[in-house]
């Protein structure tokens, strides 16, 4: 009896030990990533680096046009994907009849999320750049990125809607609310934290993906800033890629690439931080 108890205790300790080891390994690599990017990136970061355009074959000046470009692309992609994705999720969760066709649609959307981003890039090139004739532009890039994150936003929103207790809907119906009133006043507000989580993840993905904008929006260098949605843009992830693969001054370019990586990292963390802050407030406070 005593022996088996000691054995159980040992097994438990081994189990917990293994779990904490896994956590430590994960945190170690995460820390390492932030450390390396930060230490190498911080060297080139300056006010000039953030606010100036590149000079002298990318070896001097700043990366401001790339920051601005990434901002435009992200904003464009999310403003397309969020309303569209939200509408799809509402339809699939709240309105659609439980039929096999709807199930097929649901499965297709989930599968869409697994398509490699470079495939979206080629698709965007064929459809938006060539077929619709938008050219290599912010518009083509934002549309491509938006379609890429659409399945993610739909899945996250769907999960958020499914997590809204049925009792909220019943309470609303029992007071004489229509289905639309219930969705608008009860379901969407209750699902908002979950939807925001989907948006956070999407922003991170949109801002960081290179492949979808490779043939649809990005350029290594433009003079000045884009002046319309039909302009080509510089973008941080593509800029990193280009700095590391093209050009004639690899030494300086590598340093700048680390600088860009740090900015990208900070930007994404910042956006996530803001969204998490809003989500927490929504969750705990409900206003006032």
């Amino acid at each position: 009896m005593k022996k088996t108890l000691a054995k159980k205790e040992l097994v438990q300790r081994l189990g917990f030990g293994f779990l904490s080891l896994c956590i430590m390994i994960t945190v170690f690599f995460l820390g390492l990533l932030i450390y390396f990017i930060a230490v190498r990136g911080i060297k080139v970061i300056s006010w000039e680096f953030l606010t100036q355009a590149p000079r002298r074959f990318m070896t001097q000046g700043g990366v401001a046009p790339a920051i601005v470009g990434t901002f435009y692309l992200t904003l464009g992609a999310i403003s397309l994907a969020l309303p569209l994705g939200l509408a799809c999720a509402i339809y699939l969760c709240e309105y659609s009849p439980k039929s096999s066709i709807v199930n097929i649609i649901r499965i297709s959307i989930n599968n869409l999320a697994g398509i490699p981003s470079v495939v979206f890039g080629l698709f965007g090139f064929a459809v938006f750049v060539k077929f619709f004739g938008f050219g290599v532009s912010i518009l083509s890039g934002a549309l491509t990125l938006g379609i890429m994150v659409l399945p993610g936003i739909i899945s996250a929103s769907q999960e958020a809607f499914l997590a809204v207790p049925q009792s909220f809907r019943e309470a609303s119906f029992a007071l004489g609310a229509t289905q639309w009133q219930t969705i608008k006043n009860i379901v969407i507000p209750s699902a908002l934290p979950g939807i925001l989580t989907g948006v956070i993840l999407s922003i991170g993905r949109v801002a960081g993906e290179t492949a979808p904008i490779l043939f649809t929006a990005a350029t290594f260098y433009i003079r000045g800033y884009p002046d319309s949605i039909f302009s080509e843009v510089m973008a941080l992830p593509y800029h990193i890629y280009a700095l590391m693969t093209e050009g004639t001054h690899p030494q300086e370019q590598t340093q700048i690439a680390y600088g860009c990586a740090l900015i990208l990292l900070v930007l994404v963390l910042l956006v996530s931080g803001i969204a998490i802050f809003i989500r927490q407030r929504k969750r705990s406070g409900y206003g006032h």
Partner: protein, 254 residues
Amino acid sequence: MDINQIKIKVEGVNFYYGSKQALRDIALDIYKNKVTAIIGPSGCGKSTFIRLFNRMNDLIPGARFEGKILIDGNNIYDPKLDVVDLRRSVGMVFQKPNPFPKSIYENVAYGLSINGIRDKGYIADKVDKSLKDAALYSEVKNRLSDNALALSGGQQQRLCIARALAVEPEVLLMDEPASALDPTATLKIEELIHELKKKYTIIIVTHNMQQAARISDYTAFFMMGELIEYDITSKIFTKPSKKITEDYITGRFG
């Protein structure tokens, strides 16, 4: 007893979940300004039954209704009837308190705003009055803008009652409203029901026999989807006419 006015008439009701029959040939009359308790063992169809009165079962896919339910002489299963209107006049309080994750004030005001009332002064008065009627006002009057989820379970349930009362229903359905509450909170709800029957016709499902005896005027005993016995509460609990009713209320099964 003859002066009792019939508020609801249930005639020949059968109800099915897919191929499974949940209610068999139910007929009974529910009297105005009385409390009618529905009792019976788990799975007897009592919750299904009470949810017929505001057509809450419409939401369940594959469910099928046969028969007639007349409220003030109007068949609520008439295809031309607007379910939204029906639900406004037949309020419901659920088994588990389910306030919306909004402020106390917004919870009570919700039913008014969705029914198109925009007059802020009227809504404010109505919220106060409903909270008073639900015996909650004195506990929350200084924190109407707090989140309703911060209230205790008993307070949440009274808030749900206030929310239902705000739209001025005629009938109030209560599906085991005290089953998730502690004895003190239960007592408060029971006292409240006693007050509310002056204005409303109340149908309450309960699995608690003493509760049914304490608060109701009429009691219907259901078993396996059938109405076994329906009578004045005092009669059901002192000399029921059927053996099986007696066995149930004396705790021999269930």
